[in-house]
Amino acid sequence: MQSLVIVAHGSHLNPESSAPTYDHADTIRATGAFDEVRTGFWKEEPHFREVLRTVEGDEVYVVPLFISEGYFTEQVIPRELRLAGWDVSEWDSDGLSADQATLVAEDIDKEVHYCGPVGTHRAMTDVIVRRAESVTNDADVGDGFGLAVVGHGTERNENSAKAIEYHADRIAERDRFDEVKPLYMDEDPEVDDLPEHFESDDVVLVPLFIADGYHTQEDIPEDVGLCEDHTEGYDVPETVDGTRIWYAGAVGTEPLMADVVLERADDAGADLGTALDDVRETTRVATGD
C-alpha cells in the first residue's frame, strides 16, 4: 500500500496558508496513484509530529511543500517526523539537488522516503510558466512579455535565491519571454524597482511562494506599487511607471503544482501509473477561445 504525505507550513492566523496543500492533495487523490494522500503541517493539524501515525501504507513518500532547501526541509521536518539518523548529507545537495532519503521514521518504526522540496524540482519551472499563462489567460504568453520571478532573497536562507535563479535561468533558456529576471524582496535586484529592470511593456510577476499570505498579498503588491495599501486591492494588469504588471500571486496556488509533488514521489520510486500525464492534462489552462 502506497501513501503520499504532503507536509507544509500552515498558519495559526491565515486559512489561505494550507489551502494549496489541500488542493494539490485532492488533485493527486483523484488520480488514484496513491492508496492514501495525507497532509501534515508545522502550524496546523495533524502536526508533523503526528501525521505519520495517521498513515496506513507501507510505502510512504513524504513531500515537503516548501520552496527551497533550508531550515524547514533540513532541520524541522526531519526532526519532527523523527527520521532516525537524518543528516543533511543524506541529500548530498548543492542547495538545489536534494532528491530523497530513505530513513526509518521512529514514530511508526517504518521506512519513509523523505523527498526534496517541490520548489527546487526542475518541473517547478513549468509551474512558473503555467502561472504566467493562468494570470494572463493566454496559453501562449511570452512574446512581448517580460517575466519576473520573485522570492525572498538571501536574508534568511541563501538557497532561497538559488531556487529563484535556477528557474529564471531555465525559463530564459527557452526564449519564450522577451526577458526573464529574478527579483528579490530583501536584496538587489529588488522587486520594488521592477519597471527599471524590464524594457517590456508587459511583465508577469510570479512570486515563488507556496501560499498566499502576508508576503504575496500585502508586502509585494505594496512594494511594487500595485497599490498604496493592500486593502485597496489592485487590477491585473496594473500599470506602474508605464509598465503593465500582471501580478500572479503565489505560484504554489497553481494547480500544476500537484505535478511537482508527484514528480518528487516519482523520483523517490513511487509507482504512479499515468498520474503524471493525468495531472498535466487536468490542470491545463483553457485556451480561452
Binding site: 495559526h12 496546523e44 493539524e45 509530529r49 503526528e50 495517521t54 524541522v76
Partner: protein, 409 residues
C-alpha cells in the same frame, strides 16, 4: 420528536423476554459480497483451517475431491462447526447456513473486509458499537435503534442496514435531533475541511480541537471508512492517539522535552525554564489547555517527574505534547516574562478596579460578544470600557497618565 425505531425496539424487547437476556437482532439478508468474501477467505486457507465467526466457524473440507460432482453440490466442500459436531456442506448448503447466521457473517465482513486492519480505524469503529464487549445479537439490536457516541463536539450515531452494513450519522452535538433536511448535508468526508476552518462567527480556527466547531451540517449516511476519515479530518490524529493510549503505547512528550527540542525563532522558549519551578507552565496550561479552550485531555506534564497542578481535562482523546499553538504562545510569554515587575501608581475607585478585573475575565472567557450593548451593569460593557478609557487614559493612551517607561529610560 417521534422516534421511528421505537416500535421496532419495543418489538425487540417483547421478543427477548422469553429467550432470556439476549435481545433479538434485526433480520439480516446476507449480501452476496459478504458470502463471496467468505468463499475467498476460505480459498486462501488450507483445508481445515477455519474462518471464525461469532459462535461458529467454517473451513474447507479435507475430504477427497469428488472431481465429477459440480463444486457447488460437493457435499463435503465445506465444514461448519458451531459447538455441536461439525457438519459437511456443499456451497449451496453453506450459503443457506450462512444466511441463517447472516448477522455474524456480516459482522465478520464489516470488520475484516470493509474496515480492515489499520489499528486506529479498526479500534475506533469497534469501540463505537462495543464490538469487543457485546455479542453480535446485542450490538445489532442496539444498532437497529441507533448507537450514539460523542467525540469532541461530534455526535456519531451508528446504525445497521438490513444487509448488515454499518451507516453513520455525524453532526455537531448541538444539532442532535435536528432533521437532516434542516442541516447542510455532505457525503464526502473531505468536505469536513471546510466545516472546521471557521467558527460560527467566521473566525479562523487555528486549533482543530478547540471547542468552537460550528454546527448546522451533517454527514447523514457514511460508511465505516468514511466515518473514520470524517473524524480524522475534523479532529486530526485524535483517533490515532486515543488508540495508542488504549494500547498502553501513548508516547507523551512533556513540556521540558518539547521546549528543549525547539530551534530557530522558537529556540528561546527553553530559556523560560530557569530551574525555579514550573508555575509558569501551570499558567500556560490553565490559559491554553483547559477544557474550555481545547477538547484534548492534557497528558503531558512539566517533566517525567513533575506533574502540573492544573486539571488536564476530561476529553475522550489525549494530548501527548504541547501543541504548536502552545509553543508559539510560549515564545511570546518567554519574552514578556523576562521583564522585571515594577511599581506603578494609579488611583482607581473600587468599582474601577473591579471593572478592570471584569474586562480581563470577559476577554479570557471569550464573553465580550455576549455582553449586551446597553448592559452597563457589566464591567466589560463597551460603553463602560469607553468611559473608563475617556476618564483614565491620557492622550498617549497611558493608564492614569502614568508612562509605561519611566522618564530616565
Amino acid at each position: 420528536m417521534s422516534d421511528p425505531t421505537s416500535a421496532e425496539a419495543d418489538a425487540a424487547d417483547d421478543g427477548s423476554e422469553d429467550a432470556g437476556s439476549e435481545p433479538d437482532a434485526p433480520e439480516i439478508d446476507l449480501p452476496s459480497e459478504a458470502f463471496d468474501a467468505v468463499l475467498d477467505a476460505l480459498a486462501d486457507r488450507e483445508p481445515g483451517e477455519p474462518v471464525r465467526f461469532e459462535g461458529f466457524s467454517v473451513a474447507r473440507g479435507a475430504d477427497e475431491d469428488d472431481e465429477d460432482a459440480p463444486v457447488e453440490d460437493a457435499p463435503g466442500e465445506y465444514v461448519l462447526a458451531d459447538g455441536d459436531r461439525p457438519v459437511g456442506l456443499s456451497e449451496r448448503e453453506l450459503h443457506e447456513a450462512l444466511s441463517e447466521r447472516a448477522a455474524a457473517v456480516t459482522d465478520w465482513y464489516t470488520f475484516e473486509r470493509v474496515v480492515g486492519e489499520f489499528g486506529p480505524r479498526r479500534a475506533f469503529l469497534r469501540w463505537i458499537e462495543d464490538a469487543d464487549g457485546d455479542t453480535v445479537a446485542t450490538r445489532y439490536a442496539a444498532l437497529a435503534e441507533g448507537i450514539e457516541r460523542a467525540w469532541g463536539e461530534l455526535k456519531i450515531t451508528a446504525t445497521v442496514t438490513d444487509r448488515g452494513e454499518r451507516r453513520y450519522d455525524v453532526r455537531h452535538a448541538d444539532d442532535a435531533g435536528v432533521p437532516v433536511d434542516d442541516l447542510d448535508a455532505y457525503d464526502d468526508p473531505l468536505n469536513a475541511r471546510d466545516l472546521v476552518t471557521f467558527d460560527e462567527q467566521g473566525r479562523y480556527r487555528p486549533l482543530k480541537t478547540a471547542p468552537s466547531l460550528a454546527g448546522g451540517w451533517v454527514f447523514p449516511d457514511l460508511g465505516p471508512r468514511d466515518l473514520y476519515e470524517a473524524v480524522e479530518t475534523i479532529y486530526p490524529a485524535t483517533v490515532a492517539n486515543w488508540h495508542r493510549e488504549r494500547e498502553g503505547e501513548l508516547d507523551v512528550t512533556h513540556w521540558r522535552e518539547t521546549m528543549e527540542r525547539q530551534a530557530g525563532i522558537y529556540g528561546v522558549v527553553k530559556t523560560w525554564d530557569r530551574g525555579e519551578g514550573y508555575e509558569h507552565v501551570n499558567w500556560v496550561a490553565e490559559a491554553c489547555c483547559d477544557d474550555s479552550q481545547c477538547l484534548k485531555r492534557r497528558e503531558w506534564q512539566y517533566d517525567d517527574e513533575t506533574d502540573l497542578d492544573v486539571d488536564g481535562g476530561d476529553g475522550a482523546f489525549p494530548c501527548r505534547e504541547p501543541c504548536s499553538v502552545v509553543v508559539s504562545a510560549a515564545r511570546k510569554w518567554t519574552r514578556l516574562e523576562s521583564e522585571q515587575p515594577r511599581t506603578y501608581e494609579f488611583d482607581l475607585t473600587p468599582s474601577e478596579k473591579e471593572q478592570v478585573e471584569d474586562i480581563i475575565d470577559a476577554v479570557a472567557d471569550g464573553r465580550t460578544d455576549e455582553i449586551r450593548e446597553a448592559d452597563t451593569k457589566e464591567g466589560a460593557n463597551r460603553y463602560r470600557a469607553r468611559f473608563l478609557r475617556a476618564k483614565l487614559f491620557d492622550d498617549e493612551g497611558n493608564l492614569g497618565g502614568v508612562p509605561t517607561e519611566s522618564a530616565e529610560e
